[in-house]
């Protein structure tokens, strides 16, 4: 075990990642596979190695961070089809030495299958994203604890629709777990037919974090 810890430490890992079955684990995002394949071809190039050209930033670590939030219970009570969803990305795995160069939020809205079948595309939704600056105490006005980040109308079709947003400075603050309250996403239907039952779209969110570990991505001195 101590020897393994030494090896893992050399790879920048504090401990051996979960050693369970791989079944049920999330798929590798295709974009990450593409970057991996490209890195296999250009790995001899030191300068290239410390830059992620796909995102146009420096870095040697790309993390696809899963959303650990969920639908806020009772949020659908406000109106038919209304959904409030908490988005939470745990960035505690970033080492203190790492420099975060990019955090890109991806939100994918998937129309409910039943609605998509009926309408070809779902109804237009108002999607409003807030950052949560502190937890809401019982009885307090929740609007006081959030700051508007994005307000957009989306109309997810059968294939869904995606919104991408740079949240680098915000994600920098999330590196301290005590200051990470996540995001709040409010979905409201804009043009639903009141005679037609409406199902809220499902939301998939992920965060791409690109960082650079200076000790593991040093510039090589040129030899004469």
């Amino acid at each position: 075990v101590p020897q393994q810890r030494l090896l893992l430490g050399a790879l920048g890992l504090s401990e051996r990642p979960f050693a369970g079955s791989r079944s049920g684990r999330r798929d590798v995002p295709p974009a990450l596979w593409r970057i991996f394949r490209r890195s296999e071809r250009v790995q001899a190039d030191e300068v290239e190695a410390c830059t992620v050209s796909e995102y146009g930033v420096r870095g040697n670590i790309i993390r696809y961070v899963q959303d650990q939030g969920g639908v806020i219970p009772g949020s659908g009570m406000a109106c038919p089809g209304c959904v409030d969803q908490h988005l939470f990305f745990n960035l505690a795995a970033l080492e203190s030495l790492e420099v975060l160069y990019l955090a890109q939020l991806h939100i994918r809205f998937m129309s409910a299958a039943r609605v998509a079948r009926l309408l070809q595309s779902g109804p237009t939704i108002s999607a409003v994203l807030y950052k949560v600056v502190r937890p809401t105490l019982k009885g307090a006005d929740p609007r006081a604890n959030r700051r508007l980040l994005l307000s957009q109308s989306v109309r997810p079709g059968p294939e869904g629709v995606s919104v991408t947003m740079d949240v680098t400075s915000l994600a920098e603050s999330w590196r301290r777990p005590a200051r990470n309250y996540g995001l709040l996403l409010e979905l409201r239907p804009l043009d639903t037919d009141p005679d037609q039952s409406w199902a809220a779209p499902s939301v998939e969110a992920s965060l791409v974090a690109v960082s650079l570990h200076p000790q593991q991505c040093r510039s090589r001195q040129k030899r004469s």
Partner: protein, 115 residues
Amino acid sequence: ATHSQPPVSPSNVCKARRLYVDFKDVGWQDWIIAPQGYMANYCHGECPFPLSDSLNSTNHAILQTLVHSLDPGSTPQPCCVPVRFSPISMLYYDNNDNVVLRHYQDMVVDECGCR
């Protein structure tokens, strides 16, 4: 003193040898997605007197082999060590089940030398 030592055949001279590291062998296959293994290589061999240019030697190593040739008992030969590496990328799951692509330097031994 040099005449008393057996000659070093080319196969014993310091150079990079093939070593394939299979992550299954070290029990890491559960969390490393790709690659499943890679050609890491290693350095092995002697650094005999006189050191040739092909052995990537330092000035210090040249002098050390000279001293060793005069008095093998007191001074060892220089060490055969990696002098040039190349990086690899690894795709793996972390403890939160996130997918991570990380670039690691100094993972493959490309060249060895006497140092």
